[in-house]
């Protein structure tokens, strides 16, 4: 019988280690799937083109929340990525990729990951042009909880053995471009709530406009504007009603005319170390 006991003990120990090594930590906090949805587009056309791309991810700790205040310890997050482009004539070459990956964060997986490179050329006197807009937004929010020091922070969604105040965070990176010749490259990245306190919420946005070298015109012609925004409200630990700190940041730029080079990038990372 002793042999049986030790065999059982060995088996249980073995099983528990197997379970430890296979538990994944995923960017969206649901801890269930390894979903991957990569998509790609390659395009070269003389004529008109229109495209719309949208990705939205909502996560919620207490099920779908219909307005009102958050419950104790509740946290919600939302990521929205949108990209629209239209031309009414001219030459367009485009490469576009969107890699939605909910794989383990340790491997660098992202809930959204996008890259678009478009080259456009037209005769401005004909009246055709290309219009494009792009935006990436992330919102995370969470409420303080007094229960057993059991707050799940919206940014890290982990049970932390300490009091953490409520949070509201909003990040946005967006651009709008209209041009008759040139090349635009945009990159967007996002990551929502993590399940581990080493993985913060994150947002990156990058845009670059350059001349189209193959056209022989040494500049890109058109208008480009960007908007980067961040706001963060934070409660003090063990206080549900007052803000302990608020931060806001806003950056808007518009350029118009012959653009030789234009590049802007924005990145937010956020983390938490409980005291």
């Amino acid at each position: 019988m002793n042999k049986k006991t030790s065999a059982l003990l060995c088996m249980c120990l073995f099983l528990s280690f197997v379970a430890v090594s296979t538990a994944d930590i995923l960017p969206n906090g649901t801890n269930t799937t390894n979903r991957q949805i990569p998509s790609e587009t390659y395009l070269e056309v003389i004529g008109s083109m229109s495209s719309r791309q949208m990705y939205q991810l909502e996560t919620s700790s207490h099920g779908g929340h219909e307005g009102g205040f958050l419950y104790d310890g509740e946290r919600v997050s939302s990521v929205v990525y949108k990209n629209d482009m239209a031309t009414n004539g001219g030459y367009l070459a485009q490469s576009k990729g969107l890699k939605i990956d909910e794989g383990p964060q340790q491997k660098g997986a992202f809930n959204v990951d996008s890259k678009i490179v478009s080259t456009y050329l037209t005769d401005p006197e004909i009246g055709s042009k290309m219009a494009s807009s792009d935006s990436l937004e992330m919102f995370t929010s969470g409420n303080f909880s007094r229960v057993d020091k059991n707050i799940r922070n919206p940014l890290v969604a982990d049970i932390i053995g300490d009091y953490v105040g409520g949070f509201n965070s909003y990040y946005k990176g967006a651009s709008a471009v209209e041009m008759t010749t040139g090349q635009i490259a945009t990159m967007a990245r996002a990551r929502s709530v993590g399940t581990d306190n080493t993985i913060p919420a994150e947002l990156r946005y990058l845009i670059g406009i350059h001349p189209d070298m193959s056209s022989g015109i040494p500049y890109a012609a058109g208008t480009a504007s960007t908007e980067f925004a961040m706001s963060n409200e934070e409660g003090a630990p063990a206080n549900t009603t007052e803000f302990a700190s608020t931060k806001t940041m806003n950056d808007k730029t518009t350029v118009d005319g012959q653009i030789f080079t234009f590049g802007k990038s924005f990145m937010v990372t956020s983390g938490l170390s409980p005291t």
Binding site: T5, S16, Q53, Q56, I100
Partner: protein, 136 residues
């Protein structure tokens, strides 16, 4: 009597196992509801070479994920410079996901990709892949 002791030990051990494993360990799969699809239409095409590929794997057992692979490509036929006409594609997915054993929805994933190209098409290729799996 020893058997009873073994049983008690086993119950005790199993009851502490989740603590050893992690707070996020569940013995059962959470609820999910996934819809994924793709569509391509051609309008008034004069000449074209079209290639499309579709692979589907529905839910299966351990280790093999559900999967879809869809690709469509429009190119000119040999001897011409471009395919002439209009192509429309529409890809979309809608995914609901639960967490642990909770009945509430924990994550909602939605994506859409619509494009229309009209004129002299030198090359047009769109593809998406969807794979999904569960690891407990």
């Amino acid at each position: 009597m020893t058997q009873v002791r073994v049983l008690i030990f086993a119950i005790f051990f199993i009851s502490i196992t989740p603590v050893l494993v992690s707070a996020d360990f569940y013995a059962s799969a959470p609820a999910f509801d996934d819809h994924v699809g793709g569509k391509t239409s051609l309008l008034n095409m004069k000449s074209l070479a079209m290639e499309s590929k579709l692979k589907i794997r529905a839910t299966s057992g351990d280790g093999a994920p559900a999967g879809i692979e869809y690709m469509v490509s429009i190119a000119p036929i040999n001897g011409t410079d471009a395919a002439i006409g209009t192509v429309m594609t529409d890809f979309r997915g809608f995914i609901l996901e639960g967490e642990g054993t909770a009945e509430n929805e924990s994550a909602r994933n939605e994506w859409r990709d619509h494009s229309m190209v009209s004129g002299a098409i030198v090359n047009f290729m769109k593809s998406f892949t969807y794979t999904s799996g569960i690891k407990l």
